[in-house]
Amino acid sequence: MSDHAHALDTTTGLDHRKLAIWTFIGSECLFFATLISNYLVQSKKSLVGPFPHEVWKDPATGQVFEPIIEIPLVTFGTALLLFSSLFIVLALYGAQRGNRKMLIGWLGATILCGMFFVGMQVYEFTHFVHKGLTLQRNLFGASFFVLTGFHGTHVTIGVIWLVTMFILAIRGQLPKERALNLEIAALYWHFVDVVWIIIFPVVYLIR
């Protein structure tokens, strides 16, 4: 750790931006905690179906609504998102060692996983709407779409961020001296992943 004349002297030795992303993540925890609490309270208060795990027959029209949650696709997307956290760790490892191939390869894999996850969600949302679950239909729909939608938005912003880093990496503008830039993006990415690890069982698994 050499001591440049112009080097910034921080009290903790940490880069400001690294502290900042942790602080931001701390704040975002409350954001998602509120959304998840809202889901927990509201999703059970639907007056009409469709419901997540039960069949419901509309007494007025006789129309039958199947349980709306479909586990397989979402589980696959969840697994991909989890793996993407591993991939970005590998990409960061490459970045910190100046290994350009490793950086670009694993970063690309991370982005693909993220894109797939978002794509899966878009498909799932349209599929649910087809099956009769909309924002307006009932409180399960409203709280489901708002919670997973905002998470999905965070993933999308993460993907945009990672694509930016990817382009920088390809242009050779992510040398090992600037690996911290990727580390900050990775921290955000891990956070988005952890939030999903909480949302997935709460929304999809627990009955």
């Binding site: 704040s27 509120t34 409180l139 409203a142 708002v146």
Partner: protein, 624 residues
């Protein structure tokens, strides 16, 4: 031949002369300039909020009065509360966070100077947006805490609630950005030797305030988002017909709302903790207790929220829990009051204007705290809630508390910020008018509230006999107004006078008094090293007397973050997103798309702007 400090600075400044002119202010990233921007803007909104209050008081001075229509009245009380909280007290505190925190910790700026500017511009645009609602005759009119389901489309079809909702979201962005900024600044930019337990108390209280902002604002962000979805996208989160529960809004709101009041008062506590020692010529009594009580208040502040809901019939278990936590929070608050008095005790008190306001703060805050303890008891609160008794309580803590403290801070730090001392005589006139006016306005409210006058009522019938107390209150409010006119006059008179304040007019204890008034752009010629609390007293003790007037230095070899307009561009984008969202029924998604694009454009240019990496990165990649 006396030269002013400014002359000295100009003589030494050389290539680092700070530019003047509009563009330099639009692109500034200097924490001191941003602080002044916050202060002037906030003071303007404060006067606007005060005008709203005076109009309210005129209407209430007579029974069955028709000076204001009911809709206008409802808009005025809503905007008065919203403005005072979000556009006055918070940004006035931000003025001091901005100007003083870097100085007090021996830093040259905050951790993210451009983010700092961004916060200010978003605040300004948010405040303008909120007040623009008046121009459309659609000012918010649902009360500053906007209870559902009055705020649903069905019962509030106009734009009023949307102005409020979007306005608060915009302001929330500003607060959150500043929260991250000051949190990192305090953790990471303290000068050598300044451990956390050697920081000035104002820095501590401000630091805790930032944590509160970071944890509380996301909650209201979500609540407001849910309301947006109800009003714009047809959900039923708070709509009973769709299964929603209006009471849920209250829970979400107050989980934010209660910490918010500590956000409003903790910086005030910090200011008082700076002023009392200097003017008592003794250190702050019980520094550690002050730190821990502040932290404990903040922590516990997240556990009392339903004391705003005692009349909703939550049941005895919930009532008991929140009643007890609310009483508990009185203990650390009491500790603070006693520590302040302990600071004065045995001191050699110098009665200058800042000290007048600081002492009055203690007296007024005690009253506000005691009425707060009275509310903490649900059986009693069933009578008190939603009456003027509550209005009295929160004005005693927010005005008698925060505003008195902020005014004390203004007189105290004015010489440092502007290089001029405010006139003492006028200051005292201001003080007496404010103290008398304040008590005459708000003390009778305790009585009229217990005698049956509910809040948020645009009028009352003569036979309830509220008129005489209301007239007293209106008289008091005009005396208050007069006091602020005197303050304004003082400011104008002082601004026209010479800029000749010394660096250390009060015999201060903290680092900001070691540099010229006003400070040069780079703050410290050399970053100081501290060895304990009250570093400047320590230094003066070692030197055996007052310090000589510091030279500002030339700033040579000191790197300052260069100005930038990307924060302003990004701020316009962010504001635009919410404006476009509000107008989306008319404009469709296009406005939102344009605004998001502008925001991305601003942020990308900001991120890739050259010349800033050395200010955030310890091993700097050098200059790019």
């Amino acid at each position: 031949m006396a030269t002013t400090v400014l002359d000295q600075q100009r003589a030494h400044a050389g290539a680092h002369a700070q530019k003047t002119g509009l563009w330099s202010w639009l692109t500034t990233v200097d924490h001191k300039r941003i602080g002044i921007l916050y202060g002037t803007t906030a003071f303007f909104f404060f006067l606007l909020g005060g005008l709203e209050a005076l109009l309210i008081r005129i209407q209430l001075a007579r029974a069955d009065n028709n000076f204001l229509s009911p809709e206008t009245y409802n808009q005025l009380f809503t905007m008065h509360g919203t403005s005072m909280i979000f556009l006055a007290i918070m940004p006035l505190s931000a003025m001091f966070f901005n100007f003083m925190i870097p100085l007090m910790i021996g830093a040259r700026d905050v951790a993210f100077p451009r983010l700092n500017a961004f916060s200010y511009w978003v605040f300004l645009l948010g405040g303008l947006f909120l007040n623009a609602s008046f121009l459309f005759g659609a000012a918010p009119d649902q009360g500053w805490y906007g209870y559902a389901n009055l705020t649903s489309r069905q019962f509030s079809p106009g734009h009023n609630v949307d102005f409020w909702n979007m306005g608060l979201q915009i302001l929330g962005v500003a607060s959150l950005a500043a929260g991250v900024n000051f949190f990192v600044t305090v953790i990471n930019m303290r000068t050598r030797g300044m451990t956390m337990m050697r920081m000035p108390m104002f820095v501590w209280m401000s630091f805790i305030t930032q944590i509160l902002i970071l944890l509380a604002f996301p909650v209201i962000t979500v609540a407001l988002i849910l309301l947006i979805f109800d009003r714009f996208f047809g959900t039923h989160f708070f709509v009973p017909a769709g299964g929603g529960d209006p009471l849920l809004w209250q829970h979400f709101f107050w989980v934010f709302g209660h910490p918010e009041v500590y956000i409003l008062v903790l910086p005030a506590f910090g200011i008082i903790s700076e002023i009392l020692p200097v003017f008592s010529r003794k250190p702050l009594f019980g520094y550690a207790a002050m730190v821990f009580s502040g932290a404990f208040i903040a922590f516990l502040g997240f556990g009392v929220w339903s004391h705003h809901m005692f009349t909703t019939g939550m049941g005895p278990i919930a009532d008991t829990f929140f009643s007890l936590t609310t009483m508990l929070i009185a203990i650390p608050t009491g500790v603070k009051i006693f520590n302040w008095m302990g600071t004065m005790w045995g001191g050699s008190i110098q009665y200058r204007t800042p000290m007048y306001f600081a002492v009055a703060f203690i007296a007024m805050f005690i009253i506000g705290g005691l009425s707060g303890v009275m509310h903490a008891s649900p059986p009693a609160d069933l009578q008190q809630n939603d009456t003027y008794f509550i209005v009295a309580h929160f004005h005693y803590v927010l005005f008698g508390g925060s505003i008195f403290a902020l005014t004390a801070g203004a007189y105290y730090w004015w010489p440092k910020m502007f290089g001029r001392l405010l006139d003492e005589k006028l200051g005292k006139v201001h003080f007496w008018l404010m103290l008398i006016g304040f008590n005459l306005t708000f003390f009778p409210m305790h009585l009229v509230g217990l005698h049956g006058m509910p809040r948020r009522t645009y009028t009352y019938p003569k036979e309830l006999n509220f008129e005489s107390l209301n007239q007293l209150e209106t008289l008091g409010s005009f005396i208050l107004g007069l006091g602020f006119l005197v303050f304004l006059f003082n400011i104008l008179k002082t601004t026209r006078g010479p800029r000749n304040a010394p660096a250390d007019p009060w015999n201060g204890a903290t680092l900001e008094w070691a540099i010229p008034s006003p400070p040069p752009e780079w703050n410290f010629a050399e970053t100081p090293v501290v060895h304990g609390r009250d570093p400047l007293w320590e230094l003066k003790r070692q030197r055996g007397g007052r310090l000589p007037e510091p030279s500002p230095g030339t700033g040579a070899g000191i790197h300052i973050p260069p100005p930038s307009y990307w924060p302003l561009v990004s701020a316009i984008g962010v504001t635009g997103i919410f404006v476009a969202l509000m107008m989306s029924p008319k404009w469709g998604p296009w406005g939102i798309i344009v605004a998001i694009s502008l925001t991305f454009f601003g942020i990308y240019n900001w991120l890739f702007e050259k010349g800033y990496s050395e200010f955030t990165t310890p091993q700097g990649g050098g200059h790019h």
